[in-house]
Symmetry: C2
Subunit: 297 residues, 2 copies
């Protein structure tokens, strides 16, 4: 399975990289050169592309293709990049290193990082509009609504606010769940559901993929917390233990490492169970789930 | 005319205020209270609502109504508010006062200002999606594309980047035009065109309104520069002379006050001329143009 997944991921990631490269603006004489440069720096040459992979795999699971959802898959990656650029800012997480490179604000200054993040977010919505050239408008608008909910106050940004407010505060299970479902889970869920919607999933397929995505998002975040606590800084591309240093709410802090690991495995099992009604076309979604929990720990 | 415009603006602004109030999120037990609070602080109780007024007036000029375009008109106001919140940040313009109140970062801290700006931008796109409940999807998607172009790297954000890069640099006419067309002009143009598109303007109507909006945007920015140079700080709600202090590119700095005033009047005349094919339904657009140049100077 490992080999099958690797071949699949290599091929799909290459197409995603190529699309991202072509969708991002390039420096022209008309524009301030530094802005497209900072946007490309934030997105290209790094990242596992988990979210666009999920978007494509969900489309495939219901009989569609990555090609069919490529603008939206890339839009979601730009949204992810936007959130990292802003989260790394001195006023927020104050991170200087991401995936082994200086963060955008460290490289281009704070003003440019704020504006490059803004530009990435707007560019992502522009790509969603572009999706309408190849998909029914009804589905595109549904995807737009879904993504706005996943990213805004009731999603990613809301989760980030609560995360910041909770630094140094006592962590309880309810608050930890709120932060993770919103900060990370919402965009993972939207990645899966947007692929499914654009590829024409039925109501029952959507419900199953919704369940899959929520269990996957939970497992992903638990594993991320564990890796931050225990991982090899060189593989992480950033310092390990930064969550603890920021006194962030994490699964290992709340439940201990062993229990956190068990919760991750159980969540992956639930994700796989959600796919029982799907045939081999959903294998990439199954591989991604298994890969998530088998990363580095 | 003054009286007619005042009655018109009072009635329309009241409806816009009411809609903004209802579209913005409120604090609930589920959410971090501070985020909706900061979003509302950034938007409500201040502002001339020029952009939503223009959106509604453009719809009216082609036989539509403000009601018909209200979600989009308010989305544009949220985008405007988002840009002010981020521009005021210490890393950008470092402004502490806006319209007589502490700026969002001064009131809620930098982290919250960055995230509230992000949330306002996403919320605006969510309102555009909501427009599809009452308008043909084709027109909504066209508006979405138009706004992404107006706000992103080829619009407002691009203009802001160039503005920051040009601080303390020699100002030439070409660069000044680039900054103002992008930083302010693009969203004013999009306000007029989105109202026109949603209300079903013909090709030739759109072309005329496009010309109107570009002349209006230019006049608006020249007057804004003049007011910043000469205005009464109490009426401005911020310190006068801040552009000069930041060594910003402005019309009075480049052309002198008298020539700048003449340019503003000429631009308004061109805006009015663009409307020659329209009947009395376009009077609000005419009033707005005249009002723009007759503000405080």
């Amino acid at each position: 399975m490992q080999g099958l997944f690797e071949a699949y991921a290599r091929e799909r990631v290459a197409r995603i990289e190529q699309a991202l490269e072509s969708y991002l603006p390039t420096a022209t004489s008309r524009l301030p050169r530094i802005l497209p440069e900072a946007m490309r720096y934030a997105v290209l040459g790094q990242g596992k592309r988990l979210r666009p992979l999920l978007c494509g795999a969900a489309a495939e699971a219901v009989g569609g293709s990555l090609e069919q959802v490529l603008p939206t898959a890339c839009a979601i990656e730009l949204i992810h990049a936007f959130s990292l650029v802003h989260d790394d800012l001195p006023a927020l997480d104050n991170d200087e290193l991401r995936r082994g490179k200086p963060t955008v604000w460290k490289q281009y200054g704070e003003a440019m990082a704020i504006l490059a993040g803004d530009a990435l977010l707007v560019h992502a919505f522009g790509l969603l509009a572009r999706q309408a050239e190849q998909s029914p408008m009804e589905r595109v608008l549904q995807t737009l609504r879904l993504l706005c909910d996943a990213v805004g106050i009731d999603g990613m940004v809301g989760g980030q606010v609560e995360d910041i407010l909770s630094e140094g505060e006592p962590v309880d299970a309810e608050k930890l769940a709120y932060i993770h479902t919103h900060k990370t889970g919402a965009l993972i869920r939207a990645s899966v559901l947007s692929g499914a919607i654009l590829a024409g999933a039925s109501e029952s397929q959507r419900a199953a993929l919704d369940a899959y995505s929520q269990s996957l998002g939970l497992a992903f975040q638990i594993v991320d917390d564990i890796l931050n606590e225990t991982g090899d800084p060189q593989r992480l591309g950033k310092s390990a233990g930064t969550d603890r240093a920021h006194q962030k709410a994490t699964y290992p802090r709340l439940y201990g490492l062993e229990t956190a690991r068990r919760h991750a495995h159980e969540a992956i099992q639930r994700a796989l169970d959600s796919l029982h009604g799907f045939d081999a076309a959903a294998d990439p979604l199954r591989w991604i789930a298994q890969f998530t929990v088998e990363r580095d720990f």
